[in-house]
Structures are given as C-alpha cells and as structure tokens.
Symmetry: C2
Subunit: 218 residues, 2 copies
C-alpha cells in the first residue's frame, strides 16, 4: 500500500496526519503546497477544494479526522469497542472543531480584518480549556485516552496540542494528564526525530499579535 | 437502552440526530432549549458547552457526527467495511462542516454584523455544490451512498439536505441522485410523519435576507 499526503506549507491540520502516519510506521511521501504562492492556483485540483488529502493506493481521501481514523484502524492503532471509540471520537471532533475557528482567524489576519480575527480567536480561546478538561477526564491510569494502550486518538490529540500550544502557550500544562500525554507522544523516537527535522512555522501561523490583535503594549 | 436528545429549538444540527433516531426505530425523548431565552443561561450544564447532546443510558454523548455514527452502528444501519465507511465519512464530515459556517452566519445576523454574515454565507455557498457533487458520485445504482442498502449515512445526508434547501433553494435539485436520495428518505413513513408534525422553523433560522443581506430589491 502507498500513501501520499498533500497539504499546505503549514502544521495546522496536516500535523495530525503526519504524526499518525509516522506512529503507524508506514512510509509516505508528502507534497507541500505553499499557502500563498501555490494554493489559490491549485485548489481546483482537489475534489473537495480542501486539503489535507491523503492519496491511498492512488485514491484520494479527505477530511483530517476521517484520514486519521482510517489509518489508525487499518494499522491496528484503534480500539475495537464501539462505545470506547465513540467516546474517543467526541474529543477528537471537539478539538478538531477549533481548527475551523483558528483557520478563519489566521485568514482574517492576512486580510486585515481585525474584528473577525478577534471573534474567531475568542471562540477557540473559550473552547480550548473546555475540550482539554474533557480529554483530561478520559485519560486512564495508563495515560492513554480511554485505553490501556496507545491508539491513534492519543497521537492525533498530542499533535493538535502541539499546534495549539503555539497559540495558547501554557494552557495545556494546566491539565497535567493532557500535558503528560503530549510529552509521551512527543518523546516517541519517530515523533522526536520529526519535531527536530520539520520545517519551522510558516509566517501564516505566527502567533504574534494573533490572540490580542489590537490591545495594549506588546 | 434509553435515549434523550437535548438540543436547541432549531432544526440545524439536531435534525440529523432526530432522523437517525427515528429511522433506527428506537424511542427517545427530547428536551428542547430555546436558543434565545434559555440557552445562554443553560450552556454551562453541558460538558462541552455545546449541543446536541444525546444521553445514552444516562451517559452524555456529544458531537453530531459522532452521535449519528454511534446510533447507526449500534442499530445495524452501517457498513462493516473499513474503506466503505471511511469514504462515507468523507461526505458526512464535509457536509457537516457547512454547519459551522451557517451557525456563524446566523449568529452574525442576530448580532447585526452584516460583514461576517456575508463572509460565512459565502463560504457555505461556495462549498455546498462541491460537497453535493462528491455525494452524487458516491451514490450507487441502488440509490444509496456507497451501499446497496440504506445506512445511517443516507439518513444523515438527507436530513442535512433538508436543512440546506432552506438556505439555498433549488441547489440540491441540480444533483439528481442527491435529490432522489433526499426524497426517498423523506418519504419513509417515520420521516414523513415527523416532517408533518415538527415545529415550524425558528425565527433564528429564517433564510430571508440571509444569503444576500444588503444587496438590491427583495
């Protein structure tokens, strides 16, 4: 089986797919599309006009949570119990929801729309600790989300926390089990290596001035 | 097993859950919360500060797509094949994404923010036909999405199309297989009965003036 990831020159939604691919231990190639220079002209190549897209044995697959769950189930990184999976998916979808708000905020900044930027950051800012507290209470004594061993859900959540820490520094640390989960996944050799070699943040993702765009001294 | 749905006095995201519950043939009760009078004061009762919430045998479950998939799998309305389910979930998540844009647009209208309303409606308006075309190409000769028999995915999609037809009238009909799917689910006795007895649209959901808020004659 072959995998090719197509995503923007960002961490954002793509980072979760990359981490799950790496932890699943499969080889994949990645095609990176610069969000400013290339994306507007290439958008129409994609069936949903969106990325990430994972090409699985030549067939395109979309939607971040769908891609990650597929990889987890295909590569034995998933729970087989319906209720467990369902309650894991609750936090997966809830955390992923923030990606919509943050993407809108980042786009609004590029467009110079401070008002929309502020509203969208506000939505994410209010919801992030709510989601974290729900993740916290699902972490078992083994340190994984509703499981005695690691599943793709832990990897997905850790990757998103790694991204959100960029925007809300120190927030994850308020939830000690979440923080420990993030560290445990980050310390896996394959993720540790990726975190050292991956490209720096794209300027589009710069948190500077994003959270409080117009208020007070820096 | 017992089910209680808690949702706002809207169709919106709740309608998909209602339709899946009805087609699954289970009994449930619903607690309706008025979005204007009650929601702001009651939001903090909910673990994710969001609805719909489905209380399953006393345990709260959140996220529309997660709730519907759980019901489908628990009540034998799902495909058992990983790749089929995955490709069904692609369109489920993609169509559901529009709910975020429309919710923001409707909220912006209430707040009198015409600019944000316009941006958000624009996002949904551009994406809706893209998603419809992807659903269209997944409909089999039996008329169901990637399946020879009806699954919860068909019911979910039909319920969303029923809601989006409110905002973009005539759009679904441009995709004949989607239109036929919607009709087929609507004509099931249990859905037909619900469509006749359900409350009228809440004023919050009124499409009047939403799509082109500030332009031209009515």
């Amino acid at each position: 089986m072959t995998y090719q990831l197509k995503y923007l020159s960002l961490r954002a939604r793509g980072e979760a797919v990359r981490w799950v691919l790496k932890v699943a231990g499969v080889t994949y190639t990645e095609e990176t599309i610069d969000i400013f220079r290339e994306w507007p002209g290439r958008k129409h190549e994609f069936k949903f006009r969106k990325v990430p897209e994972l090409v699985v044995d030549g067939k395109p697959l979309h939607q971040t949570t769908v891609i990650c769950r597929f990889l987890g189930e295909r590569h034995d990184l998933a729970s087989g119990d319906l209720w467990t999976t369902t309650r894991q998916m609750e936090v997966v979808e809830a955390l992923h929801d923030l990606a919509n708000s943050m993407a809108s905020a980042l786009m609004a900044r590029v467009q110079g729309d401070e008002e929309r930027q502020k509203v969208m950051v506000g939505l994410a800012e209010a919801q992030f600790p709510v989601v974290l507290s729900n993740i916290e209470e699902r972490i078992t004594n083994k340190g994984w989300i509703l499981s005695q061993q690691m599943t793709w859900v832990d990897v997905f959540i850790a990757a998103y926390l790694d991204v959100y820490e960029n925007y809300f520094p120190g927030e994850v640390a308020k939830f000690p089990l979440c923080e420990a989960l993030r560290r445990r996944v980050q310390d896996m050799p394959v993720i540790k290596a990726w975190r050292e070699e991956r490209p720096p943040w794209h300027p589009f993702e710069d948190p500077q001035g994003l959270v409080a765009p117009s208020g007070g001294p820096p």
